[in-house]
């Protein structure tokens, strides 16, 4: 048994060290807000924060997770920036199918935590790893700008 802290809660788990965090979250702990899209860090749907940094959980194996706090879409709303991002997403009606949006929101929150007033180029740099198949990019950009200070 090892311990992992997710959204402030400590979980005891017994899984292989090379198991990606994505599947621990989804299939072991039942936190299905983090999505599987590609499994090769190309789409960003599985983005979570590891010690505040946006990472692709499909490529983040458990041995690199232990000892660092994980934040997921289920918990990011408890942070001030995360709550603002979620509210802006609804205010601007960013969401269509919504499947990528957990990852988009996690990437946007990580960006805004580092840079509270990002330029379009900053947004491109931070968000280009998150694919949206529905094409909500126009509104993602609007929503991020709307909460910039």
């Amino acid at each position: 048994m090892k311990q992992v802290t997710i959204n402030g809660n400590v979980h005891d788990i017994d899984v292989p060290d090379d198991m990606p965090l994505l599947w621990v979250l989804r299939d072991v702990l039942g936190m299905t807000g983090t999505k599987y899209g590609c499994g090769i860090a190309q789409c960003g749907a599985c983005t979570v924060h590891l010690d505040g940094v946006a990472v692709r959980s499909c490529q983040t194996t458990m041995d690199s997770v232990y000892g660092q706090p994980v934040t997921t879409i289920e918990g990011v709303g408890d942070t001030p920036v995360g709550a603002k991002v979620q509210a802006a997403w609804l205010e601007k009606e960013v969401v269509q199918c919504g499947y990528c949006q957990s990852g988009q929101i996690m990437s946007a929150a990580a960006l805004l935590n580092e840079n509270s007033n990002p330029t379009d180029t900053d947004i491109d740099d931070a968000m280009a790893g998150n694919i949206c198949r529905c094409g909500t990019y126009v509104r993602i950009r609007e929503a991020i700008h709307s909460i910039a200070v």
Binding site: G37, Y99, C134, G135, V138
Partner: protein
């Protein structure tokens, strides 16, 4: 496709499918029955297939499925408008599989596709809401001993102002349940709309921003199994050998199940299942399609396209008119196979028991999904419960049930719940692809530059012939020629024909924008060629041909005005137009691009002017235009599915590029106010993309794109 389907009602008449549909369409509004729920609960008020009011509150049943397009919100708006409810007062629920109640009257199936949902539901959902309201008011009035005409309703509460009496719907519902469904229903005039036409907030999105929405792939039960599978890499292939012992040795693997052409490993979680599948090291007998390549497919298409196909439109001997024309043009256009790749990979969860089965899945076709499980298990369809989930995109992919059928075959002897999730690699290499189309076009223009004759031969697979054979009549696939036979323009002499060619080793299906996406790329590019060949401005050339199409002209003019058409563009910039009448909507697209110093194409600004008739939710229209056009632009820039030795070459998003935020242009959407009946919007933006892009590239570089996607060096 739908205009053609509707205009082909004469073809459809007499077929079993059409007869069933027409009978139902006639019977439903006239059915007079008690509004009590058929089964058990006598306290439920169920006046029709779409409204249910009981102790749990007010539930609206959604005949169409939510793939992200916003239909749950607009369908609820239609009913809530007549029910005098606000959207936060209702719950929505996916319709169960029941074609007698939930058939899409345009598609003749319980299906969501072809941008038909709003067109199908515009009348029937408002009527359903109004019927329920009338019955509730009558029941309340009877109880109070007052005339129903003296009552009014607001926010789901019935008032009799004179007596001061009032009651919410839920209190009246039990009494309303014994009333007869009204025969005559008067709907509101548009001037009375409260909800329709407003930017009502979407009802499905709050749960999508905090991770709480359960998509099909998020289905979970205690002790369930998690499975993933591998399928024959070449269509028609069979498993030759595999190492089951190695898979079983993987920690967390429970069971291995197989058919001839697929094998799944069931584990404690997806990671175990994936590793189990890898450990199997399956070797395949590839079967008869192992020599298929893209080149072999295109060579075949080139050959079969030489001969006349089935004539779809033949007006005034277009060939001889072109022969005599002052300016003659001809060209061949190629449109590639495409993958849907919704971001939620295909998946379903099945719990098969001895005498029943239950399915959790996001599907655009719940009746077909139910039948797939029934057929594989030998159960009768009514023993299969379908729980339809919201979908993480579909774009046509979930109009097919192959993933459910395969899962049911694999799991038919497993008696615990199992979720089967396709890896992205299996999803992309076992898609049902948008057909490859090979188009031969020709045109003649007179010495004043007027289009006098046009021919268009479409060669490609027929999706209708597979998916709805009853709609494939006399060798014509109405979708394959949509927007090719008929254009928005004045045309005297047209010959359009269709050559069906089914490439070996490939299954084809609906893909966002369907036939219009492919044909508009060809037609709108070719119209641009005509303008340039005769030294005319592409906007003016189109305008001159729109004398009988005021709505088409209006959107074109609006887009041109917003784009600033006619201004001189900076060096390296290009601007292209695409105009369409498709899915019952009128759409003009003007796209600006830039050729960068590194000879890359940068999408700069996309202007869309749309007239989709009366608008239910203008923000949804805008969202569909934005997303649709980006879907189409990214595809035209990057995407093709190719085959080598019968196998698909593209396996994930590294080899099948999706447009990213840094590549997305600004998108501006302008809507024309209209009182015409609603048109479809989900597919329109996608269909408007490639033609405008190709024309913008020509404008910037003088290079004509006749084959998609844009190849490396397309602009050098």
């Amino acid at each position: 496709m739908i205009e053609n389907l509707v205009s082909r009602r004469n073809f459809l008449k007499g077929t079993a499918l059409a007869t069933a549909g027409l009978v139902l369409a006639v019977q439903l509004p006239d059915s007079v029955r008690r509004a009590v729920a058929a089964a058990g609960d006598q306290q439920s008020f169920v006046p029709n297939a779409f409204v249910k009011i009981d102790g749990d509150g007010i539930t609206l049943i959604m005949p169409h499925t939510e793939v992200g397009q916003g239909i749950y919100t607009s369908s609820a708006m239609l009913m809530a408008e007549e029910l005098e409810l606000d959207l936060d007062q209702v719950k929505v629920e996916a319709a169960p599989p029941d074609i007698s109640k939930y058939m899409d009257p345009i598609l003749y199936d319980q299906a969501t596709g072809g941008s038909t949902s709003t067109r199908s539901d515009w009348m029937r959902l408002r009527e359903a809401g109004a019927a329920a309201r009338i019955m509730l008011v009558e029941a309340a009035a009877e109880g109070w001993g007052v005339p129903p005409g003296e009552c009014r309703v607001a926010q789901g509460v019935i008032y009799h102002d004179t007596s001061g009496k009032k009651a919410p719907y839920v209190d009246i519902a039990p009494r309303a349940a014994s009333r007869q469904v009204p025969k005559e229903i008067k709907l509101k005039e548009p001037s009375q709309f409260r909800l329709i036409g407003t930017k009502a907030k979407r009802i499905d999105t709050p749960a999508k921003v905090n991770g709480s929405l359960i998509y099909g792939i998020d289905t979970r039960f205690p002790d369930m199994g998690y499975a993933t599978l591998v399928m024959a890499p070449v269509k028609g292939g069979r498993i030759a050998r595999m190492d089951e012992a190695a898979a079983k040795a993987v920690r967390g693997v429970r069971d291995i199940v197989r058919t001839d052409d697929a094998v799944a490993v069931i584990g404690d979680h997806m990671w175990a299942a994936k590793q189990g599948v890898d450990a199997l090291g399956v070797e395949w007998d590839h079967g008869p399609n192992s020599s298929v390549t893209n080149a072999s497919i295109v060579t075949e298409m080139d050959e079969v396209s030489m001969k006349q196909g089935v004539v779809v439109r033949d007006q005034n001997d277009a060939r001889s008119v072109i022969d005599k024309a002052a300016t003659k043009l001809d060209a061949i256009y190629h449109s590639p196979f495409l993958s849907h790749s919704p971001l939620e990979p295909l998946n379903c969860t099945l719990h098969i028991e001895n005498d029943k089965a239950e399915l959790w899945v996001g599907t655009q076709v719940p009746v077909r999904a139910q039948k797939a499980v029934a057929d594989a298990t030998g159960l009768s369809p009514e023993k299969v419960t379908v729980n339809n989930q919201l979908m993480g995109g579909a774009f046509g992919r979930r109009l097919d049930i192959d993933s459910i059928e395969i899962a049911a075959r694999l799991l038919k002897d497993i008696r615990y719940p199992v979720k089967v999730v396709w890896t992205r690699e299996q999803d992309m290499t076992h898609d049902f692809y948008r057909p490859y189309y090979y188009d031969r076009v020709a045109a003649g223009l007179d010495d004043s530059g007027r289009l006098v004759g046009r021919t268009h031969r479409v060669t490609g697979s027929s999706v209708f012939a597979r998916w709805a054979p009853a709609a494939f009549i006399n060798g014509v696939d109405p979708d394959a020629v949509d927007c090719a036979a008929e254009t928005p323009y004045d045309e005297d002499a047209v010959l359009a024909d269709y050559v069906r060619h089914e490439p070996a080793g490939v299954t084809t299906s609906w893909w966002r924008g369907v036939g219009a996406t492919h044909n508009l790329f060809v037609v709108e590019s070719f119209v641009d060629e005509m303008a340039h060949a005769t030294g005319q401005d592409p906007l003016e050339f189109r305008r001159r041909m729109l004398t009988k199409n005021p709505r088409g002209l209006a959107v074109l003019n609006l887009a041109a005005e917003k784009a600033g058409w006619g201004e001189k563009l900076p060096p390296g910039r290009g601007r292209g137009i695409s105009l369409q009448v498709a899915f019952g909507s009128y759409l003009a697209h003007i796209l600006d691009i830039e050729i960068t110093s590194r000879k890359q194409i940068k999408l700069v600004r996309s202007i869309l002017a749309v007239d989709c008739g009366i608008v239910i939710n203008p923000d949804t229209v805008r969202a569909q235009m934005e997303g649709g056009v980006l879907f189409g632009l990214g595809t035209a820039m990057f995407n093709e599915v190719t085959f080598t030795d019968g196998k698909v070459d593209q396996t994930n998003f590294d080899t099948y590029r999706i447009l990213r935020i840094n590549e997305a242009p600004k998108v501006e959407v302008y809507q024309v106010e209209s009182v015409e009946k609603p048109g479809g919007v989900g597919e329109a933006g996608t269909a408007a993309a490639a033609g405008a892009l190709a024309n913008a590239i020509f404008s910037a570089t003088g290079r004509r794109i006749r084959s998609l996607p844009l190849s490396q060096g397309a602009v050098k």
